[in-house]
Symmetry: C2
Subunit: 188 residues, 2 copies
């Protein structure tokens, strides 16, 4: 009952619509119609619209975690891991249809920190931050927690600038700034 063609179609089209147009802008009717599924089928798989939103974010979260993986323990490998991660973010900015970070955008529409949506956002950000921190520690950086926060700030800033300003410039700035950040791992 977990996964079925109709549910998969629902989640895929909802993901595309939610990301491209916003959470509140996209109605159930719209999703149902574009997924070629009836309302009854939708409510058979999801208790309500919010659960679809949560499923969308969890799906993105799952995808990112799978793509990023675990940071290696070797110092050189950990540094390469961070460069690869940063490079992937930079490329994402320049991709077609980029509209910023799904989690940041979702949070903008959900003020209540206790809402299920914000919970997913929080968990995703916590995972990302701790992963980067672990990588920085493995790379031998003198201040892993501080540098991880700095990396996150640069990443979030790049996500925003990639959406609202110039993607290519945001990519260049991100990579240069992270390179400076990683220089701290060698010195000292």
């Amino acid at each position: 009952m977990r996964s079925t063609p109709a549910r998969e179609r629902l989640l895929r089209t909802a993901s595309a619509l939610f990301y491209a147009e916003g959470l509140r802008s996209v109605g159930v009717d719209r999703v149902v119609e574009e997924a070629s599924v009836t309302r009854a089928t939708f409510y058979r798989h999801f208790p309500g619209k919010e659960d679809l939103v949560v499923a969308y974010l969890e799906d993105v979260d799952r995808g990112v975690r799978a793509r990023v993986g675990e940071p290696p323990a070797a110092p050189g490998g950990a540094a390469a891991f961070l460069r690869r991660l940063t490079g992937a973010v930079g490329e994402q900015l320049c991709g077609p249809g980029f509209r910023g970070c799904p989690f940041i955008n979702a949070a903008a529409e959900h003020p209540d920190p206790a809402s299920p949506v914000r919970r997913v956002v929080r968990e995703h950000r916590r995972w990302l931050g701790s992963t980067v921190e672990r990588a920085l520690r493995a790379a031998g950086h003198p201040d892993p927690p501080g540098a991880a926060r700095r990396w996150t700030a640069l990443r979030d800033g790049a996500m925003v600038a990639g959406y609202l300003d110039d993607p290519a410039a945001a990519q260049a700035v991100l990579e240069a700034a992270v390179e400076d950040l990683l220089a701290g791992a060698l010195s000292r």
Copy 2:
């Protein structure tokens, strides 16, 4: 006809609601009721809801521009200007009811770059970026455009982290990172 008590009340309550709860979440009825104004009065002052949203953002933009002012021409003054600006952002993060950058949040709900809302967002960001760039140039930084983009990335990242993560930590990271950025103005 430009400014009147009712219009002022409308704009003030709308601003508070829009920022705290999001643009699409807040309906006209809600604004009208909490401003103690009738719907007829609202539509006498604003052609539609979107115009109220634009007025809200333009009001924030006006306030920020007035508070920030113009960067001084003297190198020392320009550096102090940037420190003061960064400090103000950092304090904003820790203020009660902080819910991120109004412009970033507004853009999350408005995908169409041609929309009036996105126009205001674009103009605000352009002004902020060019102001910081001018200050960096006055401060004698070797790469004003690049450093301005870096500052903006850090500022946006701090805005996001101040909303979604730890405000105090975001403030500390922002100020430390900007201090490093300004160190480039002295060297070389």
